[in-house]
């Protein structure tokens, strides 16, 4: 489903350049729950951006469901993010002025769905994360854990090929974080694919497979 082949990502930095990701190769099968772990500066954010089609590799190949991402233009990348990828961020990244329901509808607005279909799917997604009763609340009226659950509902509402979570528990207390991880497990049991980036080894251990990064390279890839 996801295949990285010798992926590099370099940034020009003055006269020299910085290699954030140095020749990473791995695959993620459909229905897996993978954690990408490593200290800060290990390249996990860069990897995450490439995985999420927000960025393109400088060298190497990234195949998402068999499609070579490097060859796509911005509009095609936007469409791919819209339909095949769901983001969950550390800081939730909900639109503050919109209700939970409208936040979850957002990807479908850009997907061109009709209002009724949007509403129905958004309600389903919110029910799936246990927030059926909070659809009319704005982010400021929700707890951190609830906000993150809204974000998860938004991520899964278009039935993406992969849900990308960037430190999803980083801004939550341990109880709320636990709930989020349980939701991920639940989704994976239902057939979703989750890739989670975290610097916290205890969180990473909760995934089925842990890829350890250091200095832009994979140092270990353990399946439990």
């Amino acid at each position: 489903m996801i295949a990285f082949e010798e992926v590099w990502r370099s940034y020009p930095m003055g006269p020299s350049r910085v290699d954030a990701v140095r020749g990473i190769t791995f695959t993620v099968a459909s229905g897996d729950f993978v954690a990408i772990s490593g200290p800060s500066g290990s390249g996990k954010s860069t990897l995450m951006n490439i995985l999420g089609c927000l960025d393109r590799p400088s060298a190497g190949r990234y195949l998402l469901e068999g499609v070579e991402v490097a060859f796509l233009d911005d509009n095609a990348l936007a469409a791919l993010r819209n339909r095949r990828i769901g983001f969950v961020f550390q800081t939730f990244n909900l639109l503050p002025r919109m209700t939970a329901l409208r936040n979850v509808e957002l990807p479908m607005i850009y997907g061109g769905l009709h209002r009724e279909a949007r509403r129905r799917q958004a309600l389903e997604a919110l029910a799936a994360v246990g927030l059926a009763g909070r659809i009319g609340h704005r982010p400021s009226e929700l707890s951190g854990g609830e906000q993150q659950r809204v974000a998860i509902a938004r991520a899964l509402v278009n039935r993406p090929a992969i849900i990308l979570a960037d430190e999803p528990t980083g801004n939550l207390d341990s109880k709320a974080g636990e709930e989020i991880l349980e939701i991920f497990h639940h989704l994976v049991d239902g057939g979703a694919t989750v890739v989670m980036v975290t610097h916290n080894p205890r969180i990473a251990e909760r995934a089925r497979r842990v890829i350890q990064l250091e200095d832009g390279r994979i140092v270990s890839d353990i399946r439990r």
């Binding site: 960025d55 911005d74 819209n82 961020f89 990244n93 850009y110 997907g111």
Partner: protein, 402 residues
């Protein structure tokens, strides 16, 4: 996202910053209102002048001594070529210019007019009976100057309303004598009330027979000859006929000027149109300044909402989605300003002519459409740059923006 939702979203965003939005909109409102108001004033003045000039008599030709150019505006007369127009010139025109229905010799002077110890300085006009028809100005009580009065050089006078009131009050002046510049004149009529036209009090005049006026002012010259053309289609040919006739009478010299009422009218309206366009242009500049206000606020908005843009891009918004969203916001801003500006401009113009009778206004549809269209164009023009900036934000940077 369908269009209605997009507009609703734009309105929601603008409503979230009410004060900021109002101030930005105000810039456009002032510009649009200024355009509509100033054009309404200009058009009102044009309509007023047209009405007043045509009210003084239609198909009018004015023949003045001396050669002046009249096309394209006013020029001082060329003094060296001035020769006199005479009573006989007017008679000749009346008899032989077939395209004219009337030709009235006019002598104009000012004098002190006195009765029973009350005196008043006023304009004295020497005329013939046809003056009434040509100038659309009629006697109300008594009689006007007759042919016999003219030929007999009789000392009779027709008073304008203002003069009558000043000298006689409510008294009946008919048959009484007044002194006009030391000569005694008998009052034979009172003119109808006409009021002020183009800043000139038409009632503050007295009329005497033209030959009597020449005696009074000791001159054989005329101030002008007023002629009326039989048919409005013949004005140009009539001018030519008058010229031919007078050139022959004046020893083959064109030492006079023939202007049609229409030419004077178009000279006036040309000036007013230029003035109106200049005023609208200045108002347009203020609209442009309003547009800069829009751009400014949209740039601030893009910066403030960088993270929102990042989120939208992350969930699949394309560049044109973001571009469209911000463009729509600036266009909604400017359209809001346009609509309120139309209301203010139209209301202001109506109010002006309601409260100040001397400021006639006429709201023209084209100025409303133009002002509104211009305001929308301003929204588009000044919205493009901020919207493009938003659309081209790097989603990774935008998501990280605090």
């Amino acid at each position: 996202m369908d269009f209605r939702e997009a507009v609703a979203l734009a309105l929601e965003m603008l409503a979230a910053n009410r004060i900021r939005t109002s101030l930005t909109v105000l810039g456009v409102v002032i510009g649009v209102a200024a355009i509509i108001l100033l054009v309404a004033l200009g058009e009102g003045a044009t309509a007023y002048i047209t009405r007043e000039l045509t009210g003084l008599g239609t198909n009018l030709l004015i023949i003045t001594p001396g050669k002046t150019q009249t096309s394209g505006g006013f020029h001082p007369p060329v003094a060296s070529t001035v020769r006199k127009l005479t009573y006989d010139d007017a008679v000749a025109l009346r008899r032989r210019a077939t395209l004219l229905s009337d030709a009235v010799p006019i002598v104009l002077g000012t004098g002190k007019i006195r009765s029973q110890g009350i005196s008043r300085h006023t304009s004295v006009i020497g005329v013939t009976p046809e003056f009434q028809r040509v100038r659309n100005l009629f006697v109300e009580i008594g009689q006007f100057v007759s042919d016999e009065d003219v030929e007999g050089r009789r000392r009779v006078v027709v008073l304008g309303r203002t003069v009558k009131r000043e000298l006689f009050g409510e008294e009946n002046p008919l048959g009484q004598f007044v002194t006009v510049a030391d000569s005694r004149y008998r009052v034979i009529g009172i003119m109808e009330r006409k009021g002020v036209s183009l800043g000139f009090d038409i009632d503050d005049l007295v009329f005497i027979p033209v030959k009597s006026a020449q005696d009074l002012f000791d001159t054989d010259r005329l101030f002008e000859i007023l002629a009326s053309v039989r048919s409005p289609d013949d004005i140009d040919r009539a001018i030519q006929q008058v010229k031919d006739l007078l050139i022959r009478r004046h020893g083959n010299r064109e030492d006079f000027t023939v202007v049609s009422q229409g030419a004077m009218l178009s000279a006036f309206t040309t000036i007013l149109k230029t003035l109106t366009a200049a005023l609208a242009g200045i108002a347009g500049i203020s609209l442009l300044v309003g547009g800069i206000g829009i751009m400014n606020i949209m740039l601030v908005s893009v910066r403030e909402r960088t993270r929102e843009i990042g989120i939208r891009k992350a969930v699949g918004a394309r560049r044109r989605d973001i571009l469209g969203q911000f463009m729509l916001e600036s266009v909604v801003l400017s359209m809001l300003g346009g609509i309120l500006g139309i209301a203010l401009g139209v209301g202001g113009a109506e109010g002006l002519s309601l409260f100040f009778a001397y400021l006639p206004t006429r709201i023209s549809l084209w100025s409303v459409i133009m002002a509104f269209g211009f305001s929308v164009a301003v929204g588009v023009f000044f919205g493009v740059y901020p919207a493009r900036r938003a659309a081209h934000l790097d989603p990774i940077q935008a998501l990280r923006y605090e």
